[in-house]
């Protein structure tokens, strides 16, 4: 082979390698998730799953993809419906085999700030969380390997764009789902607008805000509902677990099943209150169908037990009172505030809607 031919061959090989490089190297576009400064930056994005436009797009498709279930009839969105702030209005959702889930479907919003997922906090990342409903026999009921196989060809370009190679794996499925879920930021409720100085609350709402954040101090003639201790701050969320006095002896031991510690009996995650008016029924077992029932619970029906949250003990607006003792107007005002947390733009946001319908 002449020297010139060798050089031409070398150049030809290099050109081939370089042109293939566009496909081999990962070039997904980083996506910055926008949220208000007052939410703070203590967010959770794993180093091995940065958020990208292509990853989020794929995740949205997968969120609404029924092929991820064993009977091809259920997607994540079956139980997590956007119009209900990603819940389904049921106490217990049914899986592919018709079995009802043991706990109420949790709403999805502002997951960037959550460090413990599920009612008992057993998953420490959205990636870990997503794998459970996909594969649980009584939920979507399909192994990640089978799901990956079912997505072959149809989804190959989307996986290539998101993760830089044509291979479709269970790991990439849960990563894409987690990326999409992290973009579900709800920050445009009337409460947000009030925090930004764009909305003037009604007198009832303002009173509700004050009650929500104040602890009852009857000796100082200061009335409050003491909700803010666990649900407080602009996010209306803290990553906490409490026994909120639903039962003297809990039917579901909650976090105790994970830690094995007796002090965790009946403890469940303190839920996000954003969009709470849309996410009935309430509590881990969906026992309350209205916010009125929820407020009545905290006001009049907290059950004493060894693991009842210390923050629900000795809280009364009456001197030596044994219950919270809010009056009916105060309860209405508190509920008016809870309705302020409904974000109507979040539940209509096209970025989160079913891509197969658009």
């Amino acid at each position: 082979m002449s020297r010139m031919l060798q050089i031409i061959c070398f150049i030809a090989v290099m050109v081939c390698l370089l042109s293939a490089g566009g496909k081999v190297y990962h070039t997904a576009t980083p996506l910055k998730i926008i949220y208000p400064d007052y939410f703070g930056n203590r967010i959770m994005i794993p180093a091995d799953n940065p958020t990208t436009s292509e990853g989020v797009y794929l995740g949205r498709m997968l969120f609404y993809e029924k092929a991820l279930s064993a009977n091809n009839k259920i997607s994540c969105a079956t139980c997590h419906q956007q119009s209900l702030a990603f819940t389904d209005g049921k106490a217990f959702s049914a899986g592919v085999d018709g079995t009802l889930q043991p706990r109420n479907t949790m709403s999805l919003a502002n997951l960037l700030w959550v460090r413990h997922f599920f009612w008992d906090g057993r998953a420490t990342s959205l990636e870990m969380q997503a794998a459970t409903p996909l594969t649980n026999t009584h939920e979507m009921g399909q192994s990640l390997e089978v799901s990956a196989n079912k997505l072959q060809k149809r989804y190959t370009p989307l996986f290539r764009n998101a993760f830089g190679s044509d291979s479709i794996t269970g790991d990439k499925i849960v990563k894409a789902l987690a990326q999409f879920e992290r973009t579900l930021v709800s920050a445009n409720s009337n409460y947000d607008k009030y925090l930004r100085g764009e909305y003037q609350p009604t007198a009832s709402e303002l009173h509700g805000i004050a009650l929500f954040y104040s602890s009852p101090e009857p000796t100082r003639h200061s009335r409050g509902a003491g909700c803010g201790h666990c649900h407080g701050g602009p996010k209306t969320f803290s990553d906490l677990f409490h026994n909120n006095g639903l039962d003297i002896i809990p039917k579901d031991a909650g976090r105790e099943k994970i830690t094995g510690q007796a002090y965790d009996s009946g403890r469940f995650r303190v839920v996000l209150l954003r969009n709470i008016a849309l996410t009935a029924p309430y509590m881990h077992d969906g026992r309350f169908t209205t916010l009125e029932e929820v407020v009545a619970h905290y006001n009049e029906h907290v059950a004493q037990s060894n693991t009842l949250s210390p923050f629900l003990q000795g809280n009364s607006n009456s001197v030596n009172g044994t219950s919270l003792d809010l009056n009916s107007q105060e309860k209405r005002d508190l509920i008016a505030f809870l309705h302020m947390l409904t974000d109507s733009s979040f539940i209509r946001d096209k970025r989160f809607s079913n891509p197969f319908l658009n």
Binding site: H116, K257, P310
Partner: protein
């Protein structure tokens, strides 16, 4: 998974304190281990506005047992270390190491296992952090389960 959960409920685990992070010896201390350590008593004003006595182990002693930089070693970059205290209910509070060190302060922060001579009440024990001299007891956190020592990196 289900069988493991059933076992956990039948045989409740013993509570413990885990110490990890920037340590030379990671620790898991059970109530018996804590009982054997030197105890001291401090007075703290609680949420009820009244002063109560708490008895327990100095945080510095626990950190020293784990090989955390204390005393003469607490200088230079080690002053950028913090202790994150984690509780069973997910509550977390933070201290700089110097806040807990007898070479910096006379205030003794303890991990209490007794109050007024009796075990801590339900919901607060078995181990409670007691931080005397603060205007509110928000860092005197209940049911402490974990100490994590880290460098602040920014």
């Amino acid at each position: 998974m289900l069988s493991r959960q059933a076992t956990a409920q039948e045989n409740p685990a013993k509570p413990f304190l885990k110490v990890s992070g920037e340590v030379t010896t990671p620790l898991t201390l059970y109530a018996d281990d804590i009982t054997k350590m030197q105890h001291s008593t401090v007075i703290m004003k609680d949420r009820d506005g009244k002063e109560h006595s708490y008895t327990g182990v100095a945080i510095q002693d626990i950190l020293e047992r784990a090989g955390v930089t204390t005393g003469k070693q607490l200088r230079g970059e080690n002053l950028t270390k913090y202790l994150m205290v984690k509780c069973a209910d997910g509550y977390e509070v933070l201290f700089s190491l110097a806040e807990l060190d007898s070479s910096f302060t006379d205030r003794k922060v303890i991990l209490a296992d007794k109050t007024e001579g009796a075990p801590l009440p339900n919901g607060k024990g078995p181990f409670r952090l007691v931080v005397p001299g603060e205007k509110k007891p928000a860092r005197s956190s209940f049911q402490v389960t974990e100490f994590v020592v880290k460098f602040a990196k920014e």
